[in-house]
Amino acid sequence: MAIPFNLTPALPEMTLLVSACVVLIVDLFVPESRRQISYWLTQLGLLATAWFSLYVFHETPVHTFGGTFIADALADLLKFFSCITVILTLLYSRVYLAARGLFRGETFVLMMFSLLGMMVMISAGHFLTLYLGLELMSLSLYAMVALQRDSDVAVEASMKYFVLGALASGLLLYGMSMVYGATGSLDIDRVAVSVFTGNANRTILVFGLVFVVSAIAFKLAAVPYHMWVPDVYEGAPTAVTLFIGSAPELAAFAFAIRLLVGSLAAMWVDWQGMLIVLALLSMIVGNVVAIAQSNVKRMLAYSTIANMGYMLMGFLTANVNGYSAAMFYTLTYVLTTLVGFGIVLLLSRRGFEADQLDDFKGLNQRSPWYALMMLLVMFSLAGIPPTVGFYAKFAVIEAAIDVGLVWLAVIAVLTSLIGAFYYLRIVKLMYFDEAQDQTPLEARFDTRVLLSLNGLALLLFGVFPQQLMGMCVVALTRSY
């Protein structure tokens, strides 16, 4: 029997699915003392997936499975970066997970399924594919947050995440049904055509758009859909927080691109106004509330909210320039978050969560190298050159000014000044204060090497940002 579809574009997804199943089965037979076998199998599967994502690289968009699956340059790159992000997440959190009894097959498999969901979302060519990917990702995440069954905070966070997430999915489905009602199709390309030719009922479309944008805002953690973020970040085990704060941001970016640019590009005048409000509120609320936090994870949660506000500014231009700025922002943000949480994970020990700001006190005396890495993270988040965060802010501000929104750019820089205050506070704790505990941080050799490379990448891309920026432009021009 001949297979009616071209399967090659979905090679990365299939690889990941197979590896997830293999790990699931192998883990059943692996004794507790040999758990690293599942771990290495997972890493191998992820590496293979990352490799296949680039192997199938598509110069021009390819549709398969009856148009429900798109493979284009953007998707391939985002999938590759998501895989790398998950690999690093798993690597950084290995010791942390082991110390808390979470170094188990379930964790690995959930991470892989969540990643699979993200990859399906990234490649979605149909609203239902998008929804399917979103749910696969989210359900795995809910379970991951609650991995520590005996922790009240974790369970509460998981519950909140689930309820609010379900609400967001409901909003999304409702919005999609409106779009379906107006255009008569759920296929992203066909929706785009009907919206563009003006055959669709505009009132219904705008009504649907409001719900779709709300769902996007929920996934991106934009104000006022941000309530879940601080609680989930704080409640989840730090390793899971790192997972939630990194790869899903890339998927959320793809989610926004597929919906707003892929299918509803012709309505950019309508969604531009909504995004301005979301961006503005996120930048202000995120940065201002972050000041009051004494918990690092909560602080970084509000920092995520603020950063997604900046990222949304890239969408305002409604052209490839702006989208590529937003993509660059997301990529660099994920790169930065990885190092930041990586260091929080190193600070934690068995039975001790280093989630208070004061735990950073005197880090420069304890471990000057990791303090320097954290310094780079903080300056990158604050947007101070020569770290990569500066060019990310630079590109989105340029996008805003490009469409004449100078006032928004001014508010953006003023809020980033507020942001600088709380990022500097961590630098102050690390460098100016005395350490309470003089023991240097310990890390496995592979973690040490990769965390250092990851940290130095913030500086390297800060000095030579062209490669990464150019890549974002190329990926988006080839896809749209």
Partner: protein, 500 residues
């Protein structure tokens, strides 16, 4: 596209001036263990000397009589935004680069004995800072300038915060946020200029860009926010006394001698030529702020009980002279402002080093804790006398040249303006000499003063080098002013030409 500027040198002296100190700083950072402290010091000194050495050819090969950018280096950097690695110097930036590299050597040497904790990080911070500052003065691309301008804050923030006085954390954060606020607004202005110039970040191309008065005024406000904080002008000066007082001696020296000059330089490089009409339109405002700085801050300096605070206020007052000179739009005024910047670089550095000498021995900056130091430290008192005189603008010292030129230019513009500006001669002499009297003259104040030891060899040569610089610039400023003439004339031509 890299623009009309083509590379003009065989050896990239400007890149060397930037990256030699930075590379040396990174190397020093590797010697972070306490037992390597001596090696770190020597490596830092070698790095600073090498950094100074590579700037000397800039002066030797500099062509006097042309306003063109020299030693130009142009390399594509971020084609995505048409950002280029574009470097060049003219007669305005060259003296500042020389000053910066020279002061760095002194600062490294000044921290030789005093700094005992985290020596490598201290030295590295100053070296990296020095390279970045050279970058600020040499950059001809808006983004490149901004990157250096902003990156400069990071080492200084750490210097104040780690090695500073008791209230250092407050001072460091205040310093950082204050200056960041200004520079972020400038970033918006730079991107706006990029957007309306059709995609160019070249500063020299912006000189030709027609702009309406309204746009010019808005851009002026943004640039003013960045540079007035750096200068600092009244009323955004309040970070400076805190930062100066809390910073270690080396930090104060660099702040006063170099960082403040970046503000003045910014006005010359960006505001005057890019926004000539707004500059004329708002010159009354700028002159008023400058005069307030000169007179009011002069009085504030008079009553300071803390020596470092007093010199900090004196710096603000003297920098008021720079902005006053620039916004008179005459060759005399602008050149006077420039000479004042260089001279203030030497004199304020020297005064802070003098306070450092006393502080290292007595661990107090309070004037009241001293008295009669001349009896126990005669050599030191002689040096301090000369620097106090230079700070008061005594003829024959560098302080006189710039002040005299600016006063002359202001009298030409308006008698009362010149009259008010000239009060600095009286106020400056009053607060400096009164401090001198209370600290150095009189009976030996207390047992601690009686036990003071005179200058060590190292301190002697440190201050000696500055004496030479102050006197050379005061007696024979021609080598410096010659370098400036053509560039200043060109600058004034740009300012005179309306862009409306």
């Amino acid at each position: 596209m890299v623009g009309p500027l083509k590379a003009t040198t065989v050896l990239p002296y400007l890149s060397l001036a930037i990256w030699v100190p930075v590379a040396a700083g990174i190397l020093v950072l590797a010697l972070h263990r306490d037992r390597d402290a001596a090696a770190a010091r020597w490596l830092a000194l070698v790095g600073a000397l090498a950094g100074f050495a590579v700037t000397l050819p800039l002066y030797a090969h500099f062509l006097i009589g042309t306003a063109e950018m020299q030693f130009v280096e142009a390399v594509e950097w971020i084609p995505r935004f048409n950002v280029n690695y574009l470097l060049g110097v003219d007669g305005i930036s060259l003296p500042l680069i020389l000053l910066n590299s020279f002061i760095t050597v002194l600062v490294v040497w000044a921290g030789w004995v005093v700094i005992q904790s985290r020596v490598a990080q201290y030295m590295a911070a100053f070296l990296i800072m020095s390279g970045l500052t050279n970058g600020v003065f040499a950059a001809l691309d808006g983004v490149l300038f901004y990157v250096f301008f902003e990156a400069m804050l990071v080492p200084l923030y750490l210097i104040i915060g780690i090695w500073g006085g008791p209230n250092r954390v407050y001072a460091a954060i205040k310093f950082f946020l204050y200056t960041l606020l200004g520079s972020l607004l400038m970033l918006v202005a730079l991107i706006y200029l990029y957007s309306i110039s059709g995609g160019s970040f070249s500063i020299l191309e912006w000189y030709q860009l027609p702009l309406s008065l309204k746009t010019q005024i808005l851009l002026f406000v943004a640039f003013f926010a960045a540079f007035s904080v750096k200068v600092p002008m009244w009323p955004v000066h309040t970070w400076l006394p805190d930062a100066h007082t809390e910073a270690p001696t080396g930090g104060s020296v660099v702040l006063a001698a170099i960082t403040l000059k970046v503000g003045g330089y910014g006005f010359i490089r960006f505001v005057l030529p890019i926004l000539p009409d707004a500059s004329h339109y708002l010159s009354g405002f700028m002159i008023a702020l400058s005069l307030i700085a000169i007179v009011y801050i002069g009085f504030v300096a008079l009553v300071q009980p803390d020596m470092k605070r007093l010199i900090a206020y004196s710096s603000i007052s003297h920098m008021g002279f720079v902005t006053l000179g620039l916004f008179l739009f005459s060759a005399m005024g602008v050149e006077g402002g420039l000479v004042q910047m260089i001279s203030h670089g030497f004199v304020s550095a020297a005064l802070f080093l003098c306070v450092g000498v006393l502080y290292d021995r007595m661990h107090s900056r309070q004037i009241a804790d001293y008295g009669g130091v001349v009896n126990t430290m005669p050599k030191f008192a002689a040096f301090a006398m000369l620097f106090a005189m230079a700070n008061s603008g005594l003829p024959g010292t560098s302080g006189f040249v710039g002040e005299f030129m600016v006063v002359l230019a202001s009298v030409k513009a308006n008698f009362w303006l010149g009259f008010l500006a000239a009060t600095i001669m009286i106020l400056g002499a009053a607060y400096t000499l009164w401090m001198y009297k209370r600290v150095w003259y009189g009976q030996v104040g207390n047992a601690h003063v009686a036990a003071l030891k005179d200058l060590s060899q190292r301190e002697f040569w440190l201050l000696g080098a500055l004496v030479l610089a102050v006197l050379a610039l005061g007696v024979y400023p021609k080598p410096f002013t010659d370098v400036m003439h053509a560039s200043v004339a060109d600058l004034l031509a740009h300012v005179a030409q309306s862009k409306l």
